[in-house]
């Protein structure tokens, strides 16, 4: 699966706390993506990166920030988690032919 790992795999946190999710890839892909998946909404893009320190917003970026200081790591931060951010978060990389390879996901619960 294109050497993509996500951590943590599960997290329960309280409203108002900061949360950082990590995506790590081992194959030097340029493009990395963060999606959230919710019932009835499919996969929605939060932010993506097209290189080190190069990031852009997706369709549901409010309340999220990202950073990419190294090619292999793409971090997603919820500065102050809210219950509406309870979701499953997937990281993905873009392959040579524009296909996307997804990480195993992080299940986040905000109480």
């Amino acid at each position: 699966d294109a050497g993509i790992t996500q951590s943590p795999r599960h997290k329960v946190t309280e409203t108002g706390t900061p949360v950082t999710l990590r995506c790590h890839q081992t194959e030097n892909h340029r493009y990395m993506y963060w999606y959230r998946q919710d019932p009835g909404h499919g996969l929605r893009l939060i932010h993506y990166s097209y290189g080190v320190k190069d990031t852009d917003k997706g369709e549901v970026s409010d309340g999220y920030s990202v950073s990419r200081s190294k090619t292999e790591d793409f971090l997603l931060t919820l500065e102050s988690a809210t219950s509406s951010q309870t979701s499953v978060y997937f990281c993905a990389i873009r392959g040579l032919y524009n296909e996307q390879f997804f990480g195993p996901g992080t299940r986040l619960t905000v109480l």
Binding site: Y35, G42, D56, E99, F102
Partner: protein, 110 residues
């Protein structure tokens, strides 16, 4: 704005029956991709279609891209329990982004 709509949202079939999911875009797509997500798993890339009217097959799965490049379908012949999961289509958006359809959840009844 550009949207990718997918129908049906859910489909229950008896094992051995056929299954089809449809994907429709409000704009012309340069290509379309299909993914499968098993329950509790992550989306896995199945195929990419690029040409108008293109048809590709993977064993019992047949993928079509419409002539106008605004719609696509995935057809599974003689479903098996291993086909269970959610099938997503995805189309490109400007800025290296992708729109995903809402997915069709397939249940196969043994």
């Amino acid at each position: 704005g550009q949207q990718v709509m997918q129908i049906p949202q859910y489909q229950h079939v008896q094992e051995g029956e056929d299954f089809t999911t449809y994907c429709n875009s409000s704009t012309t797509l340069s290509n379309i991709q299909w993914y499968k997500q098993r329950p509790g798993g992550h989306p896995v890339f199945l195929i990419q279609l690029v040409k108008s009217g293109e048809v590709k097959k993977q064993k019992r799965l047949t993928f079509q891209f419409g002539e106008a490049k605004k719609n696509s379908s995935l057809h599974i012949t003689a479903t098996q329990t291993t086909d269970v999961g959610t099938y997503f289509c995805a189309g490109p958006k400007t800025g290296n982004q992708f729109y995903f359809g809402t997915g069709t959840s397939l249940t196969v009844i043994p």
